[in-house]
């Protein structure tokens, strides 16, 4: 596979150097910038060792979790029953095929040529054992219970969720949701899977080294070895790439990306796999109740120029997207979602008609109430959204809406504020981790009778029974076309009809690579990144 995109960069000048140093002010966990220059190397044949500069190590601490995909264990040491293609379709992995057996059972036919890294054969017993671990942790929203998995024969298992679940294979495509481990092993301690790479060294917080597994059932990896060196600071990763210490780095800061390009270094981008969006709190109490007014929601949606945001503030390193999921996931049904056009004049007219008149300070008022909104920025961090909040603030000011920006340092404090409902607009940057086009809508916007402490999202954003009925269609059929249509209906309701969600753009992942990297195909979902198809030149 070819590298998707490359940008050629200019050498570093004094200004860039100072900008690089200045970026440290935002520092440590925040995006920053750098430039690159490494001694040119002669290209040779592939099959070398790849050294990756990766962010924080989560191999041990979250070995079951979603971060596995960013790191070697997921999809490289471990595998799941089904995989996720680059266009977010479920594809065979350890299961050759699967079928739905009414009323609520999924039968998986397993490959018979698979062995674990410890030499044990992969059989239905391993699936049962791995699913039992998931059941122990509450089923992970897939309704997998203690007795859900039945062995039919050595290479056939039936999984019957404890509740009706027509989308189980879509959910199992997430590496964190269904890793298949060698029975009796703990992947937080030793990582014994069936994947193309086996672990040869793991030093927590420092590095993970993997080598090709010679008995791998699929095509053998192209690399002779892969080493992940953990470098939490993005500027350090850029400098390590520049110094030639690593061949490829994750998460190039957007503001630094345009400078990549000299000395054989280049920027590689993934297809859209995540989203940047604003959600309106539609159940807030005063002074955060303005989101209950559909006129204000629609006016805000008309007032934000997402095209200018993407091309200007985000330097073209996002893509237009009218929904929260990668467009390909909705198929033809996705065309029915149009989003609202940028039209500040219409937005102003709507507010005028609703009685919001512009005051002396340029901010609209009605019955003595200023039209001021609060945007809460903090998921998954405040830094990741910059400079979007200020951009939106300026655009809303143009139509007479004041916007206060509240930056929250981490997810815990963000959730705590969401529990209290103290905000009108909530900025989130999230990703699609499995093949279910309904997953995000279900997880974030389903109604709930539970308290805000338990389900703050529902208490702030859930539209109600009408929307729940649309979501019910998402899980009413095992056919993907039906699920796509239901998901499109749900997003159209949220975005075009009720204006509860304002999608700002599709997020693409940014990687930096040296000229040693011959082939690298970034998966739009970082959690599903595979390294067996990556290749680098032999030798340093």
């Amino acid at each position: 596979m070819p590298i998707r995109r490359s940008h050629v960069l200019s050498p570093v000048d004094r200004r860039q150097f100072l900008r690089l140093l200045g970026a440290g002010a935002a520092t440590v966990a925040s995006p920053s910038l750098a430039r690159v220059a490494s001694a040119p190397r002669r290209l040779a044949q592939g099959g070398g060792e790849l050294i990756v500069g990766a962010p924080q190590d989560r191999t041990g601490s979250s070995s079951n979790g979603r971060y596995r995909g960013m790191y070697p264990p997921a999809w490289n040491v471990f595998e799941t029953l089904v995989g996720l293609s680059h266009d977010f379709a479920v594809e065979p992995a350890l299961a050759e095929s699967w079928e739905f057996i009414a009323p609520n059972t999924w039968r998986f036919i397993l490959r018979d040529d698979v062995v674990f890294h410890n030499g044990a054969p992969f059989t239905a017993e391993a699936v049962q054992w791995s699913m039992a671990r998931i059941a122990d942790e509450g089923g992970w929203g897939m309704y997998i219970g203690e007795d859900s998995t039945k062995i039919v024969d050595d290479h056939t298992v039936d999984i019957t969720p404890t509740e009706e679940n027509f989308i189980l294979p879509l959910q199992l495509s997430q590496p964190g949701a269904g890793p298949i481990l060698a029975p009796g092993t703990d992947n937080a301690v030793e990582r014994i899977g069936t994947g193309p790479f086996r672990e040869v060294e793991y030093v927590p917080d420092q590095q993970f080294v993997g080598e090709p597994f010679p008995e791998y059932w699929g095509a053998p990896p192209l690399l002779s070895r892969m080493t992940f060196r953990y470098m939490p600071d993005p500027t350090t990763r850029m400098l390590a790439l520049q110094a030639g210490e690593v061949d490829l780095i994750f998460d190039v800061p957007r503001e630094a990306a345009a400078q990549l390009g000299s000395g054989g270094l280049r920027l590689i981008t993934s297809p859209v796999g995540s989203y940047e969006a604003l959600y309106f709190n539609i159940h807030g109490a005063a002074p955060f109740e303005l989101g209950q007014d559909p006129v204000i929601r629609e006016a805000v949606s008309h007032a934000v120029d997402t095209g200018a945001l993407i091309e200007g503030a985000w330097q073209g390193l996002m893509e237009p997207n009218h929904t929260m999921v990668p467009p390909v996931m909705l198929g033809e049904a996705g065309n029915s979602i149009t989003g609202l056009s940028y039209d500040p004049a219409v937005a102003a007219q709507m507010l005028d008609a609703a009685g919001w008149t512009v005051g002396e300070d340029g901010i609209r008022q009605k019955d003595g109430r200023r039209l001021q909104l609060t945007m809460v920025v903090g998921y998954p961090s405040a830094e990741i959204h910059r400079p979007m909040p200020e951009f939106v603030q300026a655009q809303l000011l143009d139509i007479g809406i004041a916007l206060e920006i509240v930056q929250i340092p981490d997810v815990g404090a963000y959730r705590d504020r969401l529990v209290r409902g103290e905000g009108d607009l909530w900025a989130e940057n999230g990703g699609q981790g499995n093949a279910s086009p309904c997953a995000l809508a279900v997880e974030l916007f389903t109604s709930s009778e539970e308290s805000p402490e338990v389900n703050p999202y529902a208490n702030a954003f859930a539209p109600g029974p009408e929307f729940d009925a649309l979501l019910a269609e998402c899980v009413a059929s095992p056919e993907i076309e039906d699920v796509q249509a239901a998901a499109a209906d749900a997003f159209r309701y949220l975005i075009d009809e009720q204006h509860i969600v304002l999608p700002l753009g599709g997020v693409i992942r940014l990687y930096g690579a040296s000229e040693r990297v011959l082939v690298f195909e970034p998966h739009p979902s970082q959690f599903h990144q595979r390294w067996d198809t990556t290749d680098v030149t032999a030798g340093a």
Binding site: F17, L21, V28, G65, G176, L239, G412
Partner: protein
């Protein structure tokens, strides 16, 4: 002396108890529910009520605050700081795994700082208003003014990118130690150098130093045996504080240089509301600070025999 030492050690108990309560309260009163943070991180989506209830039960978060504190304190006294929510490993083990890395960095940085700062501080005082003195003071000012992250990036650019002599980041060889140690040492050097100079200037003006000179002692003897030794009392106090600061406050340098120390681990734990780690760290570092201060106090008596340990 032994009675004094014993008494100081006994004083540790109430201080340690106070630290333990503050550590527990700070961690537990911070906004954010560790169960939901962990599950959201694990699943990539908000957890369901059932998952949340299960996790809270598993983490023991449903018990009242005081009951949890009492349980934790009882275990901590026995050396069990609990289990990390995020890694699933004993907190003591996690801290013990990382603390030597931070200690290594702190000790080397302090040694570098002392090696540079003390001689230059003394020389600067002896040659007051000379070119050396001016240069030393300007450098001290620069060292104190430059933020450590800026110095870190500058050093990486100079010695790892432009002159590829040292590794950018990581740990493993002595070369990996150089840049983070120098980064940390620069600020410490600056403050120690200024302090040493100021203390020496003050001591050199004292009557007993004049007397020593009048008695015909050599300049070397006056400087080292009479002036420097007395000037060191204040310097030792600051060295103790600096060392404590280096042990507990190297998170930025550890992050930039991907140094697997205790600071970065704890900051990550704060983001995840990993209560046992936060509590264990504060308690652990509090104990280290107390011990460092004890050593500093004992050093006073060695430096200046006039300082006696007296019974109250």
């Amino acid at each position: 002396m032994s009675r004094y030492l014993l008494r100081r050690i006994l004083y540790l108990a109430p201080v340690w108890l106070g630290i333990s309560f503050v550590a527990f309260a700070l961690a537990n009163l911070a906004p954010g529910d560790p169960a939901s943070i962990l599950l959201q991180s694990q699943f990539g989506r908000p957890p369901t009520a059932e998952e949340l209830a299960l996790k809270r039960e598993e983490l023991g978060l449903n018990a009242p605050f005081i009951a949890r504190y009492a349980t934790w304190l009882r275990d901590a006294v026995a050396g069990d700081f609990g289990t990390s929510y995020t890694t699933g490993e004993p907190v003591f083990q996690e801290l013990a795994n990382r603390f030597p890395n931070t200690l290594q960095l702190a000790v080397i940085s302090l040694l570098i700082a002392l090696t540079i700062a003390l001689p230059l501080g003394v020389l600067s005082a002896l040659k007051r208003d000379s070119l050396l003195d001016h240069l030393t003071r300007v450098n001290a000012l620069l060292g104190a003014a430059m933020p450590s992250y800026w110095v870190a990036y500058l050093l990486i650019l100079m010695f790892a990118v432009w002159l590829p002599l040292l590794p950018v980041a990581g740990r493993g060889t002595w070369q990996h130690l150089v840049l983070p140690s120098v980064t940390l040492a620069l600020a410490a050097t600056a403050s120690l150098m200024r302090l040493t100079r100021a203390e020496m200037l003050e001591v050199l003006g004292q009557d007993y130093v004049q007397t020593a000179r009048a008695k015909g002692l050599s300049a070397r003897a006056v400087t080292l045996r009479h002036a420097f030794r007395n000037a060191l009392i204040t310097v030792v106090t600051v060295v103790g504080m600096l060392f404590g600061g280096l042990l507990g406050g190297t998170v930025i340098v550890e992050t930039i240089f991907a140094w697997p120390g205790i600071g970065k681990f704890v900051v990550d734990s704060i983001f995840y509301r990993d209560y046992p780690v936060i509590q264990g760290f504060v308690l652990f570092m509090g104990t280290v600070f107390i011990l460092v201060n004890l050593v500093v106090d004992l050093t006073y008596a060695w430096l200046d025999p006039r300082i006696q340990v007296v019974r109250p």
